[in-house]
Amino acid sequence: MSATTIPSGTKWWNGGRSPFNISYGKVMMWYFLMSDAFTFGAFLISYGTIRFSVNHWADPNQVFNAFPFAGHANLPLAFVSLMTFILIASSVTMVLAVHEGHKMNRKGVEKYMILTIIGGLAFLGCQAWEWTHMITGEHKVLVNRAIETWGTTVTHNPWGLAVSHETLSKLGLAANEHVTTPGPIAFGGYFFGITGFHGFHVFSGVIINLVMYIKTKLGHFDQRGHYEMIEKAGLYWHFVDLVWVFVFLCFYLV
């Protein structure tokens, strides 16, 4: 569909033209994104290494089973699916904005940029809710033969193995409650660190998209004669979606 009109036998490396046939700005955006991919990759691989090195890790289906306004209903995967679809949808509106830019259709670019920004804000709202829910959660944890109430933070992980009824009664504690042992302390740091770093990318992506929207509205790209800035902002935005695909895999699915 996107057949290029490049004649075969073009000598790309003879000078006088970009050997990659794309502008400097787009090349540099790609190389920035590649380096960012290694940053995220290093974070996720470090997380994987620690997770592989312990016998028991937090079970994502237990940790992420809540949904706003659903009370204590056990809904594993539901909320994070919503977040994933929000980000996929905003990726589609972004690529549609780029498409309208190719057609020099300013109204179309404006419409799809607004939708993309709304998608980004919706995702950030979801993440804010999820973090709040995790930090303020109350879980009974057996610490030094007594029960403490913990949320999930960078210093507290209440998602260890469950303590049996017998153990609880032997310790003289109420045996009808769900009590766990503390889980590996690294869980909170990795979860909040990596989703936070990703969320910060989403936040800066929203800011970039907002700037692009304003510049479109002011007619800067029409004056310039092309909408390449929308393409560059789009590359960044799709990268944010791409990273989420892997965060989703590593933290929520497996």
Partner: protein, 142 residues
């Protein structure tokens, strides 16, 4: 369609598709792959750890492969890398091959670390079965 060549060094502008069919097709592909992933993830959850270790690992690997397929579609269609020329695609793809070593070496290391801990650095046998205490059923809400 206007040419959007922004620099004299760019000699050929790729012919952009006039319709949005490819974009929507990719949207559906991504959605369906996500739904399959969620289905597999939910299946693993619904079995409450009753599946064999190998089968669980195989299912998780399948989810990983589906994730790579999603990544391919995002990069190739949404980011238009598939429309760039081969020279450029290679400068992105070849460095990313470092990830193959990166993932294998570090996960291997993590696993080895666990084995060393479980066996006191190889000085004793690993416990044959791990005793996992299951949560009391009525306490499933938290």
């Amino acid at each position: 369609m206007s040419s959007h060549v922004s620099s004299p060094e760019i000699t050929h502008a790729p012919e952009h598709a006039s319709g949005t069919g490819r974009i929507w097709k990719t949207f559906w592909v991504l959605s369906i792959l996500t739904i399959i992933e969620l289905g597999l993830g939910y299946y693993l959850y619904s079995q409450h750890g009753g599946l064999s270790h190998g089968f669980t690992l195989a299912t998780k690997s399948l989810i990983g492969i589906l994730t790579l397929a999603k990544a391919y579609y995002i990069v190739s269609v949404f980011m238009h890398l598939g429309d760039e020329i081969r020279n450029f695609i290679m400068t992105i793809i070849v460095p990313l091959c470092l990830f193959i070593w990166f993932i294998v070496a570090f996960l291997w290391d993590g696993n080895s670390w666990k084995n060393l801990r479980n066996t006191d650095a190889g000085s004793r046998e690993a416990p044959k079965t791990e005793k996992v205490e299951h949560a009391p059923e009525q306490g499933a809400k938290h």
